[in-house]
């Protein structure tokens, strides 16, 4: 028997953080003018690249690990429905409660209701891309619940009423002077003598967060992995804040994208090697927390798992694009991307920036809503080489460019160009016209103005190659 639940839908408009206010070129133009941002990004990405590259070079079987990771994800996607049901069964058997959320609105409502049922009005949060994606913090605030981010960088972003700009280091666009100002202005009980020394800033955050950890009874997390076979959830983090959130509160609510699944416990062996080396450049992840349902007398006694679709089924339906769901959110592709390195994450308009964002966001929202993102790449291929699960991002970009709505003038120009190229006599005539056009040295109107603003056009040659060849 099959149950038809309708065509998969994309992430709804008006909620969450998958869409920007302007196109990538417009947003990038602003970001490129920020010299401080360019310097921060250049320094940070170069540092992570070097660190990650060094620890990857230590592993003789890195390429085999990548292949294994890719194959495991492909297998998971091929039988996602059955594996999700297996996960639900095992989480439920271990004392957890599983909720299914079609989209951001449903997920936000489910979490808000679960928190409200506890009678609490504050939650502590583990850094989570899924909850950023659905705009959970905004939804909780609207429901009268205060969410407190406990990852240091996410806390900086939250206190600054800002948006994350990198998957792994969300406050990469901030420097320590700015962080000091944000803390002084927004952090409850902060020492007014706060300096901008990193150790002092971290100390202020630690004091504030420790108090919050000890006084909050509900936590919200995401998940890096869920094991279908055992019902185990896993969170990987570096600061220990996650461990606090996952063990101290009475109630834990985990929001997880349905693609975070792995079939078996043993599969984690591959991903726990891939993720830290590709992501933070560490050999082993510092804090790896795993839990299976509820353990009486130890840790949260109420555990809820919210399984989030929000456009993922639609991505899964695309044979080429579905590979984007293999992403383990390491951000290696951001750190090697020459576009990201110069524009930063906000230009992408979505919580998922960089190359993976350029293929994931338009698929989650439907390509009409993020039509400029598949073009936010020179197709240099650095992301594909860096990806620990071998997502062929350039090919997905090319695929999505074929799906997005094209501007009318461009469409006409491209059709005319293709027609010309398919008729050698016309093609030769066009070549000679180009020679006579005397465009070299001039500033041209759109769409060529983008070229001549910063680059000279070459002087056309006296004769084309085929003219020369014909005369030989």
């Amino acid at each position: 028997m099959t149950t038809f639940l309708g065509m998969p839908t994309t992430a709804p408009r008006g909620v969450g953080n998958l869409r920007g206010d302007e196109s990538f070129p417009a947003a990038a133009h602003k970001a490129l003018g920020n010299a401080q941002l360019r310097r921060n990004l250049g320094h940070a990405t170069a540092t992570i690249r070097a660190k990650s590259g060094a620890v990857i070079d230590e592993l003789p079987d890195w390429q085999e690990l990548r292949t294994a990771g890719s194959a495991l994800k492909a297998d998971t996607m091929a039988r996602l429905p059955e594996l999700l049901l297996q996960l639900e069964e095992n989480v439920t058997a271990a004392g957890g409660v599983v909720h299914w959320a079609l989209d951001a609105n449903e997920a936000n409502r489910i979490v808000a209701e679960l928190v409200r049922a506890t009678g609490e009005d504050r939650v502590i949060k583990v850094k989570s891309m899924a909850t950023q994606e659905i705009g959970l913090n905004e939804a909780l605030e609207a429901a009268g619940i205060e969410p407190v981010e406990t990852d240091l960088a996410e806390l900086i972003v939250q206190l600054g009423h800002d948006k994350p700009s990198h998957i792994l280091v969300p406050a990469i666009h901030r420097n320590r002077a700015e962080i000091r100002e944000i803390f002084l202005r927004e952090m409850p009980g902060v020492d007014p003598a706060l300096t901008d020394e990193p150790v002092i800033l971290a100390g202020a955050a630690r004091r504030y967060l420790r108090e919050t950890f000890l006084n909050t009874k509900v936590a919200v997390s995401g998940a890096n992995f869920a094991v279908a076979e055992t019902g185990t959830l896993a969170v990987l983090e570096s600061e220990g804040n996650g461990r606090m959130c996952l063990t101290l509160p009475e109630t834990l609510i985990t929001v997880m994208g349905v693609e975070k699944l792995v079939p078996t416990w043993q599969d984690l062996e591959v991903f726990l090697q891939l993720l830290p080396r590709a992501s933070t450049g560490e050999r082993m992840n510092p804090y790896t927390s795993m839990w299976t349902g509820v353990t009486p007398g130890d840790g949260p006694q109420n555990f809820h798992l919210v399984l989030l679709d929000n456009g993922r089924s639609a991505v899964l339906a695309d044979e080429v694009g579905r590979e984007a769901l293999h992403c383990i959110r390491c951000s290696a592709c951001l750190n090697v991307c020459p576009v990201y390195e110069r524009t930063g994450g906000h230009a992408y308009g979505s919580v998922y920036p960089g190359p993976i964002g350029a293929v994931l966001s338009p698929q989650l929202t439907g390509v009409e809503d993020n039509a400029s993102l598949p073009y936010a790449s020179s197709l240099c291929g650095a992301c594909f080489d860096a990806c620990p699960v071998k997502i062929d991002i350039p090919s997905i970009l090319v695929h999505l460019r074929n799906e997005v709505p094209h501007p009318r003038t461009e469409k006409a120009l491209m059709r005319a160009a293709a027609y010309t190229m398919d008729h050698p006599k016309l093609y030769e005539a066009a070549q000679h016209a180009a020679k006579l056009s005397k465009l070299a040295g001039r500033r041209l109107p759109p769409p060529l103005s983008g070229w001549t603003a910063s680059r000279d056009l070459p002087e056309p040659p006296a004769e084309t190659f085929r003219d020369w060849w014909a005369k030989r």
């Binding site: 070129p25 576009v339 650095a382 460019r401 059709r415 398919d422 103005s449 680059r455 084309t464």
Partner: protein
């Protein structure tokens, strides 16, 4: 060996020197070069800009034009990349399995110049003379799409009189990216600025590469700055002899 030249539309129209050099170099090495008529453009611009349907006739034309030849060479890593990694995909998306199979067949016999020289013809010293200080931009598609590795540099190291200077962050994109340079002109220019800075840091007279498109971009920027560095295609350096200087 009889070698068919896939000239590429850009070299044919704007940079014939690179194509002529490819011909003269291969002839000097004792090979016969033929120029199959009917060739125009491989369709990469259309494919990469999202116009696969418009590219289909160009793919069909390319495959038909080059099918009769045992060895095909192009002075471009990027166009060879499109032939190898995109043509069959475009045919398959259009439901033409026959064309896809023929495209794969042609692709398996199509080489970028440095690949042809080193892998097929087994030569690294092509007998060139080029008394200049040169830095080499390896181009993204040569590096990461068709993986030529250090073949161009191995060829350049054998050139008499040539001083090869290492380029910092050489493997980073110059910012060209086809229509990316127009659609995201600001970001493209920011990438170009860093590439030019690294080129100028080498104090080289010549910035060389295996793709006329990247050179058009880098050269266009250097020209705008009156930076005094010229861009030259790899083929032109390898074709140069003492008789030229």
């Amino acid at each position: 060996m009889r070698i068919a030249l896939f000239v590429t539309c850009l070299a044919d129209t704007m940079f014939p020197a690179a194509a002529k050099a490819t011909v003269l170099l291969l002839e000097r090495l004792g090979h016969e070069v033929v120029f199959p008529e009917g060739q125009t453009c491989c369709g990469q611009m259309h494919i990469n800009t999202g116009y696969q349907k418009d590219a289909l006739p160009l793919v069909r034309r390319h495959v038909k034009t080059f099918a009769p030849y045992d060895v095909v060479v192009a002075p471009s890593g990027s166009c060879v990349g499109s032939v190898r990694h995109q043509h069959a995909m475009v045919a398959r998306s259009a439901g033409d399995e026959g064309l896809a199979a023929r495209a794969e067949d042609v692709a398996s016999r199509t080489y970028e110049l440095s690949e042809l020289l080193v892998d097929v013809l087994g030569v690294e010293d092509v007998g060139a003379y080029y008394p200049h200080r040169v830095t080499y931009h390896p181009t993204c598609h040569s590096l990461r799409m068709i993986r030529v590795g250090d073949k161009p540099q191995r060829l350049l190291r054998q050139v008499r009189g040539l001083e090869l200077v290492e380029l910092e962050a050489a493997d980073q994109c110059c910012g060209f990216g086809g229509t990316f340079a127009l659609k995201n002109a600001d970001t493209s220019t920011a990438m170009l600025a860093d590439k030019m800075r690294h080129v100028l840091d080498t104090k080289a007279e010549i910035c060389a590469a295996g793709d006329s498109s990247c050179l058009m971009h880098i050269g266009g920027g250097l020209s705008r700055l009156d930076a005094g560095v010229r861009t030259v295609h790899l083929a032109e350096i390898l074709a140069a002899t003492e008789a030229d200087s």
